[in-house]
């Protein structure tokens, strides 16, 4: 168990292993996204009440689910960097923020577009929509806070605290449809009990959720690699890497 922790703390190892994972995960992710989108757009039946506008579900729900899960990952990395002063956890936290912001943005935009034909309005200050907007600001806040500090250690600490405090928002988003009755519908996929969604719509949705998780992982690893290089620019392993790339 401990050797893996030592390795995780080693930038060249992390850089290399992220590269190996990406070589496989990125093509698989893109393939899964194309398959899931085509399936959802063209090969599923229309919904009985909403008609075809419901097809937005195949990007809206996965983006929202992963935007929330991504926040946990970012906050967890922040906690590790705060408690154990692990620099690589800080790299992970900084890498997660823009990806999470992008996913939240997708969820908000597709939700607004879906709302127009379904609810008759682009935007309402519904509890879930409002708390998702706050999530977007939290992600962007972490990105901006990093840029605001010259001192990297102070930036890491401030961002970790911000992401941990922001955790309060996550259960509010989850529970918002139960606590405040508004336009958003309740959960249709449940781990316990019968899901209220037909399997012809459930399978492509699950595929898209999986694909978006994989996409988040790819975005995280890609950002971590870029960040690692910049932070370690003065070290021998980066210089060797650059020399090797120059030989080709």
């Amino acid at each position: 168990m401990w050797p893996i922790f030592h390795k995780l703390g080693s930038p060249p190892w992390l850089y290399a292993i992220a590269g190996v994972i990406l070589r496989w995960l990125l093509p698989i992710t893109i393939l899964a996204l194309i398959t899931g989108m085509t399936w959802g757009l063209l090969f599923t039946p229309a919904e009985r009440i909403q008609g075809n506008s419901y097809r937005i579900i195949y990007i809206h729900v996965p983006a929202a689910v992963v935007a929330l899960a991504g926040y946990y990952i970012m906050a967890l990395a922040g906690a590790v960097s705060l408690i154990w002063r692990m620099k690589m956890a800080d790299v992970a936290m900084k890498a997660a923020a823009p990806v999470g912001a992008a996913f939240t943005f997708i969820a908000l935009v597709t939700g607004a577009v879906w709302g127009k034909p379904t609810w008759g309005t682009w935007w309402v200050w519904d509890a879930r929509i409002t708390s998702m907007l706050i999530l977007l600001f939290l992600y962007l806040g972490v990105v901006a806070l990093y840029e605001a500090f010259d001192n990297k250690e102070a930036a890491a600490k401030a961002c970790a605290v911000l992401s941990l405090v922001g955790m309060v928002n996550i259960p509010i988003i989850y529970k918002s449809v139960d606590w405040w009755y508004a336009l958003h519908q309740g959960a249709t996929i449940k781990f316990t009990g019968e899901s209220s969604i037909d399997s012809s719509m459930l399978y492509p949705l699950l595929l898209m959720i999986g694909a978006f998780y994989a996409l988040f992982t790819c975005g995280l690893l890609l950002n971590m690699r870029a960040e690692l290089l910049q932070r370690e620019a003065r070290t021998q392993w980066v210089k060797k890497l650059v020399a090797k790339a120059g030989d080709k």
């Binding site: 990125l26 996204l33 989108m37 757009l41 063209l42 090969f43 599923t44 039946p45 229309a46 008609g51 075809n52 506008s53 097809r55 937005i56 990007i59 809206h60 983006a63 823009p98 990806v99 992008a102 943005f105 997708i106 935009v109 597709t110 577009v113 879906w114 127009k116 034909p117 996409l215 790819c218 975005g219 890609l222 950002n223 690699r225 870029a226 290089l229 910049q230 620019a233 980066v238 210089k239 890497l241 650059v242 020399a243 790339a245 120059g246």
Partner: protein
């Protein structure tokens, strides 16, 4: 396929603009999520390579280098 023809798939019984529009926006954002860090890393590697080259060449290199 659920739709009878390509125009029917594009129109989606009046919901086409909403559905296709949101998919296009999503694809654009996904492309950004992947390409921004890839380009950032490549650009940095190039910069660093140029920097190391200048350091090796020494003062003469500084004249032709863009510093």
């Amino acid at each position: 396929m659920y739709f009878d023809s390509l125009p029917a798939a594009l129109a989606m019984e009046g919901h086409g603009a909403y559905v296709w529009g949101s998919y296009l926006v999503t694809i654009a954002v996904i492309a950004m999520v992947v390409m921004v860090p890839v380009l950032r890393r490549r650009r940095f590697l190039r910069q660093l390579a140029a920097q190391l080259k200048r350091a090796q060449v020494g003062p003469v290199g500084q004249i032709r280098g863009e510093s």
